[in-house]
Amino acid sequence: MQPFQPFVITAAPLDPAPLVAYAQTPDDGAVVTFAGVARNQFGGRSTAFLSYEAYAEMAVPVLARIAEEARARWPIGRVAIHHRIGTLEIGETAVLVVVAAPHRQEAFQAAAYIMDRIKEIAPIWKKEHWADGEAEWRHE
């Protein structure tokens, strides 16, 4: 069996359980799991589904780098980040971020920071497919 990979870009559905199992160690009192999920509308306009595309060769090391940034800022333990690509139905998970830490404040802060940084620099793009049939990249 392949060892668990903490930083992954995948077309397969995401499950938080293995990320939590990897991240949590006996030193940790807090584990924060963030799931970013496909929602049914944006700005009042109905969404049919989403698609995600990544520059995967670069996105994986960027996710690892973002985790290292967080570890340099807060006393946290292990971090795992899995991001999905391809077509996502409403309710499906696009990204999972798991941060384990001795204390909860740092786990929350680091998880929020990691999500902000993913939205800033990870080379992953989202296309909104509206219910009316139009579609647009969300960086338009």
Partner: protein, 98 residues
């Protein structure tokens, strides 16, 4: 002349109609010069100028970075977004040193 492999994504790929292309540039050409050349050929890319990140060989690079023969240049349009709130005092430089 040097040969540069260009990677395009998302809306850029839609505009250009290709995900990858190979271009010849003058020796000493910069990342920014590759972008300017793309904009000259595909003017509707122009509105992304100033809102991009660049990578050379999968590492973030500034527009002034000088290219070598065989480099892979990725043009990285603004990423997937979502409302971001900048908190007072929050560090929001894009390239935090580790």
């Amino acid at each position: 002349m040097i040969t540069i492999h260009v990677r395009l994504f998302a809306a850029h790929r839609d505009i250009v109609g290709r995900a990858e292309m190979t271009v010849q540039q003058e020796t000493g050409a910069t990342v920014g010069a590759v972008w300017e050349r793309l904009v000259a050929e595909y003017p509707s890319l122009g509105r992304y100028t100033g809102r991009l990140l660049y990578a050379v060989n999968q590492q973030f690079a500034e527009p002034g970075a000088v290219l070598q023969d065989g480099d892979e240049v990725a043009i990285i349009p603004p990423v997937s977004g979502g409302a971001r709130r900048i908190e007072p005092g929050q560090v929001c430089n894009r390239f935090n040193p580790l």
